[in-house]
């Protein structure tokens, strides 16, 4: 007779523990879903606007701080220049459009043209600069560019005076500047080839030389 209540007690306790465990596991899974889950969890957590704003602010601060601590060179200035061209200049075209006498098609085409031009110019200059930067790094490590730009040897011989790493970075800046200047006409030629495939004009538009001129310009 004594065993039964004892057993019952144990059973009850076990069931309680199981329930607790289940509830804790469920909570954990919920939390994990909210933390790492794709889609629903994140949306539920970030649905309130103040949270979103806070997150955006934190992200902005982190990126801002990291950008300030890194070195800003010619590629960064190119990026700023071409992002402005890709994003702001189409917006400016749409804002100025009501004050001009141009047709809707030409306005739309000129708004589409700017981002394509910016992406082509930036991609061509970046591709050329990445390759040359790798070559410059390799040559600097070898020592062909002299002690002035050697990042390792220069510091060893004359640690106070030589500033090899910074000098190499500035040399890369100069090389990227000249490469962007070389890449601009090539980007223009590419644009002339790509544009007719992207922007499909009507037959009447194709016959109209004026519009064609604005597209190819």
């Amino acid at each position: 007779m004594l065993t039964l209540p004892f057993n019952n007690y144990i059973n009850k306790e076990i069931s309680k523990i199981n329930k607790l465990n289940r509830s804790s596991i469920q909570l954990k899974t919920k939390n994990n879903m909210q933390r790492n889950g794709f889609g629903a969890g994140k949306i539920n957590k970030s649905a309130t606007p103040p949270d979103l704003l806070k997150r955006a602010g934190l992200f902005f601060k982190k990126t801002y701080n990291s950008v300030l601590e890194k070195e800003i060179g010619q590629t960064a200035s190119n990026l700023i220049n071409y992002t402005g061209k890709a994003i702001i200049s189409p917006l400016m075209i749409f804002t100025i459009a009501p004050f001009t006498n141009e047709k809707k098609d030409s306005i739309r085409n000129s708004a589409v043209l700017h981002p394509i031009q910016a992406v082509l110019a930036f991609a061509s200059s970046l591709g050329a600069s990445v390759i040359t930067n790798k070559i410059l790094d390799h040559q600097a490590k070898k020592g062909t560019l002299g002690n002035f730009i050697d990042p390792e040897l220069g510091n060893f011989f004359n640690p106070a005076k030589t500033n090899g790493k910074n000098n190499l970075a500035k040399l890369k800046n100069i090389s990227t500047f000249f490469l962007t200047i070389i890449a601009i006409p090539f980007a223009g030629i590419l644009l002339n080839k790509i544009l007719p495939k992207i922007i499909k004009t009507d037959k009447t538009n194709q016959e109209n030389h004026a519009k064609k001129g604005k597209l190819y310009a």
């Binding site: 902005f60 601060k61 801002y64 701080n65 950008v67 300030l68 601590e69 890194k70 070195e71 800003i72 060179g73 010619q74 960064a76 200035s77 190119n78 700023i80 220049n81 402005g84 061209k85 702001i88 200049s89 400016m92 075209i93 100025i96 004050f99 001009t100 110019a121 070898k142 020592g143 062909t144 002299g146 002035f148 500033n163 910074n166 000098n167 500035k170 040399l171 800046n173 100069i174 500047f177 962007t180 200047i181 601009i184 006409p185 223009g188 030389h209 004026a210 064609k212 001129g213 604005k214 190819y216 310009a217």
Partner: protein, 158 residues
Amino acid sequence: MPNKIQNILKPISRAAQNHITKRVANGMFDAKTLLGASIAIDVYSNGVDYLQISQNKKINKQDKNYLKAYKLTNGIVEGLIQIAAGAMLLNNKSQEYLLRVSRKITGMPLNPSKMVKNNFRILTTLAGSAILAKRILAPIIVTPLTTYVRKNTDIRNK
């Protein structure tokens, strides 16, 4: 091989070394050169567009004139506006003011080192000149100017 390359590049490398040492030591000079490079790229790209338009046979004469005038005025106005914006933003006084504003808004940079100050100077000048001045102010000035220049070119052609 390394010695031969060095001998060929000696006269160029001396000037480049002087330029690089100045840029590493002086942050202001670095910012000025970057701004000058961006202005040069803009003027150059406008010039290339001008040449491409003048060589293109598919464009009408009237549109050609308009586009040529547009590229000319665009290049000149963009260059001048960027120089003005750079002169406004590169001063030490305006930099101190901008640092105060950034501290108020973002809380950064609290104790800026020399490198962070230089980077902040470059970022603000490039953002102010390449985005605010060139992309927003310049088109507002250029569109009425092009009509004026185009009228003059039409008169010359007649």
